[in-house]
Every structure is written in structure tokens, then in C-alpha cells.
């Protein structure tokens, strides 16, 4: 058992060695810390924003998605959507919104742990966080697709508006509305965290791969 843990956590660096090469051994952990802070802050910031513009809404209609909530003119947008038979936006991504904060906390814990793992296993802990922004957008797109393609055929305007896929990022349009979907600051931070983590993994590899290789070479006779 100890051997397994040892092989997962990888080689330790002596304090003397660590202080001698503080940048080399400190950087991966520092970058993961930066990513953790970015993710934590992003929890409180909007991840996605859609603005609807139409002549009779001079101020526009805006809805904003946070990790755990949907805010803004959602009721008004829902009211308009009922004409084309779109389900209430509150019914979209319910699980994701319910789990959002916990997932984020899990990510932060995983990064915390990853900082102590000096083997390739660290990548396993970091990868979900790296992929998270992309997964967010894919999930968003799938929901939009699901909502847009499954319109109530008995809706008032179902003859006038055919099923469509709303644009998850960028400019789209439906009826007299122009829709402008933009990533929120939260998603930008999460993406930044993702990029920081890629860098962290690079520096992690640079720091620990030689140690792992060295240890493997030393340990070979024992295994054989």
C-alpha cells in the first residue's frame, strides 16, 4: 500500500534541494495556486451573458448565467419564448446549476492535491479543470440545441418560427431579436485558469520527470 501511495505521489524533494532550485520546484505549485484563486473568484462572477435586442426593448433584455444561477430578465425572456414554444429557461441545466458550486470546490481541492503529486498522476487531477471551460461551452450549446430544437408544436407562433439552434457564443437572431452571447468574466477567469494549468503541467513535468526517471532507474533492480 505504502508503495502504491509512494508511486502515485512520486519522489519528494529535500528542503535543501528545493531551496536551491526554488523556481524549478516552486513554480508548478504556485501556478496551481493561481488557478485555484482564479476559479474561486470566478464563482462569484457571471460565466455567460446573452443580450437580446429588439426595437421595443431600447435597454435590451439581458440574462446572465452564474455557476449556480440564472439572473436578469429571465422571466421576460421566458414570457417571449412561450410564443415560440420554448420551455422555461429555468428548466435548463438544472443539475449543472445545482452542482456547480460543489464541482468548483472539488476542482479547487483536486488542484490542492495535485500540488503534492509529483508524478504523471497529477495530470489526471488537473485535466478536468483544464477541460472545464470547453465542457461548459459544449454543455451550454447542447442545452441551447435541445431547447431550440424541441419547441412546443402547439405554441402560438409555431407556424412562423421553425426549430433552430440558438447561438451559444456570438451573434444570432430570432424574429425581431438580435441575440448577442458573450462569455462572462467568470468564464474568462476559468479559461485563464485552464491555460495557467497547462503551463503548470509543463513546469511540473520539467521539474519532476527527471526525478521520477532517476528513481525508476535506481529502483529497477528491486522491481526485477
Amino acid at each position: 500500500m505504502d508503495r502504491v501511495i509512494d508511486r502515485v505521489l512520486g519522489p519528494r524533494v529535500s528542503p535543501l534541494e528545493a531551496s536551491k532550485h526554488s523556481l524549478r520546484y516552486g513554480l508548478p505549485g504556485f501556478l496551481m495556486l493561481v488557478a485555484r484563486v482564479l476559479l474561486l473568484v470566478s464563482l462569484f462572477l457571471p460565466y455567460w451573458r446573452m443580450e437580446l435586442r429588439a426595437p421595443q426593448y431600447p435597454q435590451g433584455l439581458v440574462m446572465t448565467a452564474y455557476m449556480n444561477s440564472l439572473t436578469g430578465d429571465v422571466a421576460e425572456i421566458d414570457g417571449l419564448n412561450h410564443y415560440i414554444g420554448m420551455r422555461s429557461l429555468y428548466e435548463a441545466a438544472e443539475l449543472e446549476r445545482a452542482a456547480g458550486v460543489f464541482i468548483m470546490i472539488a476542482f479547487i481541492v483536486m488542484l490542492e492535491l495535485a500540488a503534492y503529486v509529483h508524478t504523471r498522476w497529477a495530470a489526471l487531477l488537473v485535466a478536468p479543470v483544464v477541460l472545464f471551460p470547453a465542457v461548459f461551452l459544449v454543455d451550454l450549446h447542447l442545452w441551447m440545441r435541445h431547447f431550440g430544437l424541441n419547441l412546443d408544436p402547439n405554441a402560438p407562433l409555431s407556424n412562423a418560427v421553425k426549430p433552430f439552434v440558438p447561438t451559444a457564443l456570438g451573434k444570432g437572431g430570432i424574429g425581431q431579436f438580435v441575440t448577442i452571447a458573450t462569455p462572462g468574466v467568470g468564464l474568462v477567469l476559468a479559461t485563464a485558469a485552464s491555460l495557467v494549468l497547462v503551463a503548470a503541467l509543463y513546469f511540473h513535468r520539467r521539474a519532476y520527470l527527471p526525478l521520477v526517471k532517476a528513481r525508476r532507474a535506481n529502483a529497477a533492480p528491486f522491481i526485477a
Binding site: A75, E76, G79, L80, Y83, P156
Partner: protein, 661 residues
Amino acid sequence: MKSAKTKASSVPLTLAILTVCGLAAAASAQSMRDVEAVAKERGLTNADLIAAAKTYLPSGKKDEYLMFASGGHAGQVFVVGIPSMRLLRSIAVFTPEPWQGWGYGVGDKIIAEGFPKGKSNLWGDTHHPALSETKGDYDGQFLFINDKINARVAVIDLRDWETKQIVKNPLTLSDHGGTFVTPDTEYVIEGGQYALPWGAAFAPIADYKEKYKGSVTLWKFDRARGRIDKEQSFAIELPLYWHDLADAGKGASDGFIFLNSLNSEKATGGIQDKQPPFEAGASRNPTDFLHIIDWRKAEALFKAGKTVQIEGFPVITLETAVAEGLLHITPEPRSPHGVDVTPKGEFVVVAGKLDPHVTVFSIEKIKRAIAAKNFSGKDDYGVPILDFDSVVEKRVELGLGPLHTQFGPDGYAYTSLYLDSAVARWTLGGSYGSGTPEPDWTVVQKTPVHYNVGHLAAAEGDTVSPDGKYLVSLNKWAVDRFVQTGPLLPQNLQLLDISSKGTNMPVIYDMAMGVGEPHYAQIIKADKINAWATYPEVGWDPHQQNINPSAPKPKGERVERGADGTVDIYMTAIRSHFNPEHVYLKQGEKVRWHITNTERAVDATHGFAVPVYNITASLEPGESVTIEFVADTAGTFPFYCTEFCSALHLEMMGYLMVEPK
């Protein structure tokens, strides 16, 4: 290149054009030459262009001031933006008004609170609006308005611009000296007009001197509740003169009410019996009486219980008022109209419409005369008459037919001259004298208006801090100002620019008011009013100004039949449907139809109208109302939304089916 001479003569035009261009959003593609061409084609002078530049509001730009004008016998209030002079809203008060859904299922109970002698009266004669005040300045919270024909006072809440209360004066059927508020809106003053027996009971004219009475009523305003508190209100009996306009003292004159009167002759008319008609009999004496009432003293007497109950209402009798020294009178030019207190409160300006002067009384002199009992006599009712010469400060000759006076920030006063058909600018003296370049107490300018000005209103011109800038002349006759609209002509409300000193005081806009005859108006800075864009929450009861917990909610739509046979319908309205859409009733059932507009978007108003049953309601976003009626007529009734709320507005309907017995 133009010659130097042409250049010089075109300077004002160029200035005007520059102003116009500066305001125009799309000016970049247009040149001054285009403006010149339009002016030439339309025959506009430089003055016209400047007036246009001062008043024109491009789409989306908003007015700086709001004018709340009475609607006269339209029985409403009209709200006009200044300087654009656009009619922005009417506010239904005493008269049912279908667009606002007032009096056709909603508001009926409030209107009925004011029914005189229990009889349905579905109009009013609104004269004098009064904005609520704090420390003598408009606070933008409430508006009060009187009804001259039946002696009523209404309270309008300026959050949602709806009438909240109508109180009927139990003593009389005729008021004119109202509404005016005390400096902190402690009381809303309602002075009676034509003398009447108490409660307008029957009394032959032969009993005039014995049975006919005058009065002024002080309605206590409960600001927290937004209602007049009838239990804390009282009246003061006055001599049977006809009482005209009133004003509350402020600053130096705080604590006083000034109330004009006419018919000190106690004429009773009788032209059919070859007696002098009222118009002659009531204007025979050279003077009538200005009433000076110490309302704080009156309030103390009321609180001490020194009142008698008349028509179930506490009244300080004339005898008590005289004995306690709360009422004094002093001669004033006959048949006066306006009595207006200067901003700091030290002068009271009375305009006697048959006298070319305004008479300015000094509060300091009045107080001194009261203290020294400097009386020139007593009237027939024992009311002490303050010696005229000892209380008057100045008489200023303005012209013919002076009626009402308002004030500017700089020491100018403005008085309407009905017969001269002009607005006079004149200088005050005393502490105001230094504000104007002209000598004190002199006429500076008379600007002709078209025609026959009644009241006038300057921006915040009857408060402790007038703004100047704009003045509206509320003209009674329009004669030739507009396209002929049949023999009934609109009123002409003319906007004057009073921002410059001296003789420059031009008319810059004519507004046709073709929906009523405003008497008095007050002009308030628009940003002082915090009007709601929608009701704060869905299920809002505007009468309670609170959430109604039993208001219909989405998914809670239903029809309930109570044990007593009353049917409660809980309906919601949202673009573009009512829920339920089918409603079955049995003939004779009593119905309480509750509807909530569940919209949150600004301007997403829905109407609710039922044919035959004479029902039309206006439901603003969030509003919930209850309409009560008896389903006494069998049939099938398509109800629908009267507001063009959406593209599928036409489809926003349902059927009420009343099964015959």
C-alpha cells in the same frame, strides 16, 4: 461671400440656427442653410426659430418640468411636460375614465366615497391642484385637488399617479379656496365658496342671513398612510361671504391661512323678481374682506374639544373663532381672486379683478395690528376688521383685471391680467428689492397672451424657492390661435420664457388643451417625482399600496364558489392570454373577479373589458384588482384585453358565459 450688411442682419438668425442645429441629433449631415430654407418656406422669424429651439424636444429627450393642471369640469388632472408642452398623462379623479379603467369596475368605491347626499355624481369640477410640500417646497409625493361642484377633495399618490381617496365635505356643496397645503402638508385646506345652509339642507333665500353659512375645512393629512384622516380634520365657521381663493402662510407668515371673499354685500340675487342679479349685487361695495386665520390656534381649539358637531363634523363656531381671536378680516379690493404669499412669506398679494392694482399686505404689519387690536370696526358677525392702512404695504398698479400672482427666484412677481389679456412682470420690494435691476414695486413688462388669462403658473412659483425659467399662462379663450375645431374651442396654454431679466419675456409655445379647462396648475421639477415604472411586485394592490396576499398568481388560477353563493374568479393576465379563458356563471350570481397582471416588463399593460357589464380595467405590470358585479344578464360575453399589448393582442380574449336561470 455675403456683404457685411447682410452678415450683420443675419446674426440673430444665425444664432437661432446654431441653437437648432446644436439640438438636432442628425445635424452633421445638415447645414444652417437647410434650416434657413425651412424657415423661409414656413415663414418663420428668428424669434420663432429661437422659440422652437427652446421648446423642441427630440425623440427620447425628456422634459425638465412637469405641470400638474386641473381639468376643470373634465373632473381630472392633466400632466404636461415643460418646455415641450406635450400632454403626458391625464389622471382620472372624480370623472370615470375608461382608458385608465377608472370607475368601470375599478375605483368605483373611491368615487362613491365622494357621492354628495348619497347620489351618484360621475364628474367633478377640478380647480386647484396642490402638490404636497415639505418645509414649503414641493416634495413630489402627493397631489391634492378640489372639486368645486360638490365640495370634495381627492388625494393622488405620485408613485403610481392614481387617485387614492376622495373625501366629501359634509358641511357644504361648494368649494373654491382649495386645495392649498400648509408648509409641511399638515393640513389640506378647502375653503367653501357659495354660502349654503349646513349640509346644503333646504332653506329659502329669505332665510339667507340666518341659515346660510361660510366655512373653511382643514383636512388632516396622514403622510405615512397617504390618506386624509377624517377623524383628525375639522372646520371653522366663517361669515356667509362667498369665499374665493386661499393660500397658506409660510416663513414669516407660517401658521396663517389667507382666504379671500366676495359678496360682503350679502346680496341674494333674484333677477327674476327684478332684484339686482348677483353680478351687480355682489360687487357693489368697493371692498370685500381678506380673512386671516390662525390655524395653529384653531388646531389647538379643535384638540381641546372646543368644537360643535355639525353634520357629524367638528366645527369651530364663528362665535368661538372670534372670541378666541383666531379670525381677523381686513378690507381688500372688491371681487378679489388670487391671494398669494411671497416666497419668504412676508407679503400677501391680493389681486382684485375689478381694481387695476394688486394690494400687497405685510404680515409684520398684520401681526402688529392684531397685537395692538388696531381695528377699524367689526363686521355684522363681530369679526374684528384690521385697519386697512395699517396692514397694507403697497398698492401696485398693473393693469386691468389682475387675477393671480406667482413668483420668480429673483424678486419678480408675475400677475395674470384677465382684461388686458397679458402677463405682468413686476418687482417686489422689501428684502426682494435687491434681486432686480428695476426699482421696487414697479411694472417691468407686460407680455400679451392669447387670450383672457386666468391662472398662471411659474416653475415652483408658489413655493419657498421658485425656479423662474418657465411660466405658463392658462388662457381661457383661444379665439383665433388654432384651426377652427367647431364652435367649442380648446384652451390655450401659453409657455413664456422668464429666464431673462427685464422686458424680455416672450411667449414661446401655444399648447391646445382640447380635453378640459385647466384652472390652476403647479409646475414641479420632474426629477423630484419618483414615479414607479411598474408596480414593485406582482400581485400589488394599488389601493393598499402593498402586496395583496390573496391576489391571483400563476398556477393559482381558479374559480371558487363560496357557501354564500359568491363566485371568486382568480385570473392572471400575461402576453397574450388570460387564464382562465372560459368562465361559466349562473345568472344572478355575485361575482368577485380578481385579476393580476403578472408582467414585469415596463409598459406591458393589459386591459380587461367585458361587454354589456360596463367593465373596463387597466392593469399595469404587477397590478392586481378585484371587480365586483352581479351576473344579472344571461348570455355569452367575449371579454378581451383592450391594450394593444402584443402581436397576438387580438387573441388575448376569453368567453364569459352566463347561464340563464
